[in-house]
């Protein structure tokens, strides 16, 4: 059928078309505010972060330990009620050096997001596809030195500044 159609619809516009006023348009700004209830599992997690502790949760059925906590093990569909205090150290499972911010601004010093597999949680292995990894950023590190398998440790905000948020951990830095 593509052979039978000669013309395809769709008119392409350029920034110039807007600048020269060839196109009429309407601008609007979205303002939508939410106050999400954290609930039991994340509420407990955030309270832990405020204390300077990373909490994981354990499934009594499959015995996996994961972060962030949740009230149900998604694999067993059983309740997860056992909270586990974890060390704030871990291993870099994967990372990136990102030169663009979330709102598309170029930066010269990269942000370094990483999935950090925390010590004390389930590990990937021949009989486990689950690990206790969290998303965070790396800091106090030369981007060229970052590698998968690197050992890192959390750097926390001072206790008085913590509010019970994931940002109570400023970043993870290499353990030297």
């Amino acid at each position: 059928m593509t052979v039978r159609f000669k013309q395809f619809p769709g008119v392409s516009l350029s920034e110039e078309d807007f600048r020269q006023g060839k196109v009429l348009y309407q601008m609007d700004e979205l303002k939508a505010e939410y106050a999400w209830d954290s609930g039991i599992a994340i509420g407990t997690y955030l309270a832990g972060l405020k204390r300077g502790v990373i909490l994981g949760v354990r499934c009594s059925h499959c015995r996996k330990v994961v972060v962030p906590p949740r009230t149900v093990c998604e694999w067993c569909f059983r309740p997860m009620e056992e909270y586990v205090e974890l060390p704030d150290t871990g291993t870099v499972n994967t990372f990136s050096l990102c030169y663009i911010t979330w709102d598309m601004r170029r930066i010269s010093e990269p942000e370094i997001p990483a999935v950090i597999h925390l010590d004390g949680t389930s590990e990937l292995g021949p009989s486990s596809v689950i690990m206790g990894g969290i998303l965070h950023k790396l800091g106090e590190v030369d981007p060229k030195e970052v590698h998968i398998g690197m050992r890192v440790q959390a750097v926390w905000k001072p206790a008085a500044e913590r509010t019970g948020a994931i940002t109570d951990i400023l970043y993870f830095k290499p353990i030297r």
């Binding site: 309407q26 609007d28 979205l30 303002k31 939508a32 505010e33 939410y34 106050a35 999400w36 209830d37 954290s38 609930g39 039991i40 599992a41 994340i42 509420g43 949740r70 009230t71 149900v72 998604e74 694999w75 067993c76 569909f77």
Partner: protein, 383 residues
């Protein structure tokens, strides 16, 4: 292989104006656990497909389907989301089973309306961004305009609309799941504050939080699971024009079409006599009357006086919204269709307690997605 699909399990949680102790995931989990216990199924083992209904802007998260599987027991299983009312989700479940690709399907919907700090602003984004939104009107104006045209064309009075509020909120007093039960007088409703005149604030359902999960099964599985499956005899849905400038304001042709689709599947010809109980749209009080007419229960403009004669009361000829409706239970956003289906299931199982309609065998459930849409669905259930 039969085409018949039944509801074999229902579960719910919340049904309170605020649920600060539970996140939406935990609300869903609680409803799911109840539904699976009611059905006697293990989601990891027995459920083939999961359907949820949700809208991103209501959740405050884009691609919201990302976050539904885990707490439903659906991780790494077939799951998809429909941006529709709970009845659209139910219809999808029916189609999945009738297609043969699934024998047991779970349908979920929830409302965390209490988490929306700017609900009116968010709703305003549903208006046409170029033609309507710049007028900066609160979206309820669409209901106000529709109510006005409906009263004008049908001869229905504002008093009759107010009477819907009185009936439903009084019904709600008998429903332990209802948050807004009240014993109001007609005057209290009529002389409440205006919202989008002639629509008053007291004629508009307030929101409530909650989650509802239902388990659907193909006939042979349904019969193996329980003695009293609730059959979905027919289900229809239809859209009209989203554009305010090109729609009919006094009528609901899309509800008529959805109803015809459902009646035809269910083999119903005479809804008034064949339906025992109805749970229908009362997001705004006038909607209940307008919808009853569109569903063919009575002629155009007749619903108001039938209401006043007591025909739609709990002990009337056709009890409408025995649960208390959205006005009495609380509006559950897109989970509303499932809330009405939940009530229908209770009625047909004989489990509706103080608001039981005696001998209910056939129930009609209908919903509308709210302003500014013209999207609605109708289902016929029987025991």
């Amino acid at each position: 292989m039969s085409d018949r699909v039944a509801i074999v399990g229902v579960g719910w949680s919340g049904f309170r104006p605020k649920t600060p102790d539970l996140s939406y995931k935990e609300l869903m989990y609680e409803a799911a656990v109840r539904a699976y216990a009611d059905a006697g199924v293990d989601p990891r083992r027995d459920v083939d497909s999961f359907v949820t209904v949700a809208e991103d802007f209501i959740e405050g998260t884009s691609i919201f389907d990302e976050y539904v599987p885990d707490q439903l027991g659906a991780a790494l299983k077939p799951v998809h989301t429909i941006t529709g009312d709970g009845l659209h989700g139910l219809a999808t479940g029916v189609m999945l089973i009738r297609s043969g690709i699934a024998r047991v399907v779970v349908v979920e919907g929830h409302s965390k309306a209490s988490n929306l700090l700017t609900p009116d602003t968010i709703l305003a984004y549903a208006q046409d961004p170029v033609l309507n939104r710049p007028l900066r009107l609160n979206t309820h104006f669409v209901a106000g305009m529709e109510m006005h045209r409906y009263l004008y064309e049908s001869g229905t009075t504002r008093e009759q609309c107010a009477a819907v509020v009185v009936k439903n909120r009084r019904n709600a007093l008998r429903n332990p799941l209802a948050a807004y039960g009240a014993d109001l007088s007609l005057e209290e409703v009529l002389f409440g504050p205006p919202l989008a005149w002639p629509l008053g604030k007291r004629e508009t359902a307030a929101t409530t939080d909650g989650a509802i999960v239902m388990v659907l099964a193909a006939e042979e599985v349904a019969r193996a699971l329980r003695q009293d499956p609730i059959w979905i005899r027919g289900i229809g849905w239809c859209n009209d024009s989203p554009s305010l400038e090109s729609r009919e304001w006094g009528n609901l042709p899309y509800i008529q079409e959805a109803a015809q689709m459902a009646y035809q599947q269910a083999g119903l010809r005479d809804p008034w006599n064949e339906v025992d109980v109805a749970e229908i749209d009362d997001t705004y009080a006038y909607k209940e009357l307008q919808t009853l007419e569109a569903l063919g229960f009575c002629g155009y403009g007749e619903a108001g006086s039938l209401l006043e004669s007591g025909a739609f009361d709990l002990d009337g000829e056709l009890p409408v919204n025995p649960s208390g409706g959205s006005l009495g239970v609380g509006h559950m956003l897109d989970a509303t269709g499932l809330m009405r289906t939940l009530e229908a299931v209770f009625q047909l199982r004989g489990e509706a307690g103080a608001h039981q309609v005696e001998g209910a065998e056939v129930a009609l459930v209908q919903s509308w997605r709210g302003v500014p849409t013209t999207s609605g669905a109708v289902a016929i259930l029987s025991n």
